[in-house]
Amino acid sequence: MIGKLANWLRRNKLESGLERELRYHLDRRISDLEKRGLPSGEARRQALLELGGIAQIQEEVRDIWLTRWLRDFTYDLRLSLRSFLRTPSFCITAVLSLVLGIGATTAVYSLVDQVLLHALPVRQPERLVLIDWQGDQVANGFGSWNLMSYPICRDLDEQKQFFEGVFCRALTNVDLSTGGDYSAATVEIVSANYFSVLGVGPALGRVLANDDDGAPNANPVAVLSYDFWQTQLGGAPDVVGRKVLVNRHPLTIIGVAASTFKGIDVGQVPSMWIPASMSAEAIPGFNDLLDRRRRWMQVLGRLNPGVTLQQAQAGLQPWFKAMLQEDTRRAGFPVITADRRREFLGSSLVLTEAPQGHSSLRRHLSEPLWVLSAVTAVLLGLACLNVSGLFLARGSAQDREIGTRIALGASRGRLGRQLLADSILIALAGGLLGIAAAPIAVRTLIAFLPKGIAPTALHAGVDARVLLFAFMASVAAGLLSGLAPAWQAGRHSLVTSLRERGGTAGGIRLRKVIVTAQIALTLTLVVGAALFLRTLDELMAKGPGFKTSSLISFGIDPQRSGYAPAEANRLIRNIDEAIQQSPITQASAIARFPLLTGGSWNDPMTILTDKRITTDDVNLNSVTPGFFPTMGVRIVAGRNFNERDEHAPVNSGSAIVNEAFAKRYLEGRSPLGARICEGTGPEAKPNIEIVGVVSNFNYRGLREQSEQVFFPFFADAGANGTFYVRVRGAPESFLSSFRAIVHSADPALPMMDFRTLDEQVDRSLNTEHMLATLSGSFGMIALLLSLVGLYGVMSFVVTQRTREIGIRLALGAMRWSAIWLILRDALAMILTGTGIGLPFVWTLGRLVESQLYGVKASDPAVLVITILVLCSAGLGAALIPARRASSINPTDALRVE
């Protein structure tokens, strides 16, 4: 195939070579024959006769070079190009439809590929697996998902009959300085075999080796990411041996990782990698590296060659069960109930393939991205139908030409192929422009993604995989849009086409089928868009349960700057007082954990009333007394915190719960006076008194409605804080004022995530915004495309029936009946399309159910309104040709023939 294409490219050279070769043969033959005594004219004649026709040999040889169909196809393409240049407006409309379809599909595919499909740039990524604990680990933890403790990872690393190696990793945010000011940065804490198991080498210096991960605090080294080295250190060649400060602790740079490697989490590109032995430095206050009951790291392994995932998973269990037994006998294993112990011992290890690493972004985005892929695929199908319709329209205009070609002996297959060549040429042109537009489209898409992801994580460029996808999509689109016209050409009747002036009835029937299909697809897209818009609308209207206007928030983490917990609390208090005294402040408060960021502090709890109740995970936070008034959250029963609560001992103070908590766990009885505590074991001592109940508001995100418990801020042991301040006036303008306040408390303390709460709500609705906006625009485009299709067909119908309508009018039919004649046709198509579309709507609706809020996929109002919109828009489009029909002058119409 490639060889043949190469032949096509050098066909001129091949031709002249063949001609020279044949001439040499002829000349030699003629001179040989002349030597034998033949007269020169006779010699020539005989030589030519022997060879049997030069032109025929040339044709035969050409077929060998290119094969028959390829030659025909290149001829077809040339013919198509010529005919397109004759009808540029047709050509532009068709190409534009496909640019929309192919561009959108390619852009979404580019994101799907980068976020969901792309394997890590490491050695044999297909052998990487994620190892996860199924069951109760009897452990406390922090972090995202699939967490285990560091010592268990080291144990797994020793199971060499299954794994080449097992490593663990955790992402954390630190204050980082390369000499100048501190700024917030993401680092990845890893076991020292991370690089060797992944098979990633250095771009400079060396990467971590096994002896870089010894006793806690023993290895103050770091490996920079290539991006960080380039952007923050200007790619300085002498960087190895320099020091960086992580939360004020100096670490020596030992190298830079390979340029293609960006960590194993798409979306979170770490600035550097730090050995797990230095985790206490990277996470202030964390000293539990060697604690088997502290889950905070993801564990991934590389399977040995020849070992399958199932073999490894099954083979690990005996060792794992023994390890569980051993764990229960270890010193420090918590006292737990018999039930919980049974659950712990019943745990198992689950292995999943992880060629793409581990990513929370992927977890959040996979469903929305698949939804978008489906939407763009439908849009592309619609664009193809549009082009089909255009081709059919052109086909009926070319009827006589086609009829003539058939009469001259062209085969129907050949004509069909010509039409396919037409549509593939159009599709490739569309694909080319689509690829040119793709980077812009991808950038637009990326702008919709969660703001937290690293700017270098995703790129808008067109790589080989995207190019291949766009090419395949174009060819598929070409074939798809050429199918109907080619089929129609195959059915062409010679007699009728030469006899009739207008298009054939078959042509118009097929065009109606296409428009009907378009309407069915449009219905699904418009209903989808309406559902996502309703979802966004519902969430925005509901709000987070507190007043967001004029409210700003920002965080500080003094422990990262080397403060001891008591000092840190003093600093937070100072800043709080300064904010309270500022003239721009209406009200202010502090919470330990920020709201609406997706995360939370959570733990199951024990409640003691007249009986002992244990709960599922409850979302926890600790707040200052000003918190509820500042946020505008009502105190429904009991009282707010006061100064005295702040000084009570941690485990016997007071707590406030929300209504959801009271409703679920106290079943309508008043929670006031009940005693609670964190944890659920027999050792849990519920000594904290519930003193108040507040109205519900959202903690992690706008969709969630959770049980919440609040503790007094300064009573708990943490030493970071998020300030919530309600200001007088436009909140955006106060960044510098608050920065000055923090700066005067400690000039070196970085301020994190300064933003208004309106902005925070927007951020937490990122995915919903993306789905609503994109499906809305795609729905609009779809509607437009099918209206154009409908208009085209109805105009054609009017032209075709001019005579009939003229006769009807001449016989005394009313004008409106002519209008109705056309509209009835259009309405039939719209209603049939709707009927066909409804089952699709139902099926797709079920697939997107989890993305919806406050609206059901089968919401009747949404369906009815969408169908009404579709009908009225469709009738509107058909009205234009219908009015033309009604204004037909009977005498003119009859004279046309």
Binding site: G17, L22, Y24, R28, E50, E60, I64
Partner: protein
């Protein structure tokens, strides 16, 4: 004037060309002359099918071609056997011999 020669069996032309070229690099006309000699005595070869066959064998990379000065001083396209062409010729010779042997065996049996 019916010729007593029989037409060349399908597919045998390629084998004959490979055989002729295997002796030394030769141009199209040279092959035609060799074929004519064979034709005169045994089989009948249509010269018109020679060039398509040559180009087919070149496409399959069994023959390589080079423009060189010929015995008359004019440039001509000389064909030579490639390594894979040599293998192909050996394979065809072998299967031909097997076929001929098998047919002969059947004839011998029938004659007995």
């Amino acid at each position: 004037m019916r010729s007593p020669r029989f037409p060349i069996p399908q597919g045998t032309l390629d084998m004959l060309i490979l055989q002729i070229v295997s002796l030394e690099p030769v141009h199209g006309y040279g092959i035609a002359q060799r074929l004519e000699q064979i034709s005169r005595s045994v089989v009948q070869v249509n010269q018109g099918s020679l060039y398509p066959a040559l180009h087919r064998l070149e496409q399959k990379r069994w023959l390589s071609a080079k423009w060189k000065e010929s015995e008359t001083g004019r440039e001509a396209k000389f064909y030579a056997l490639t390594t894979s062409g040599r293998k192909q010729l050996a394979a065809e010779k072998h299967s031909w011999a097997q076929l001929a042997g098998a047919v002969q065996l059947i004839f011998n049996e029938g004659g007995r």
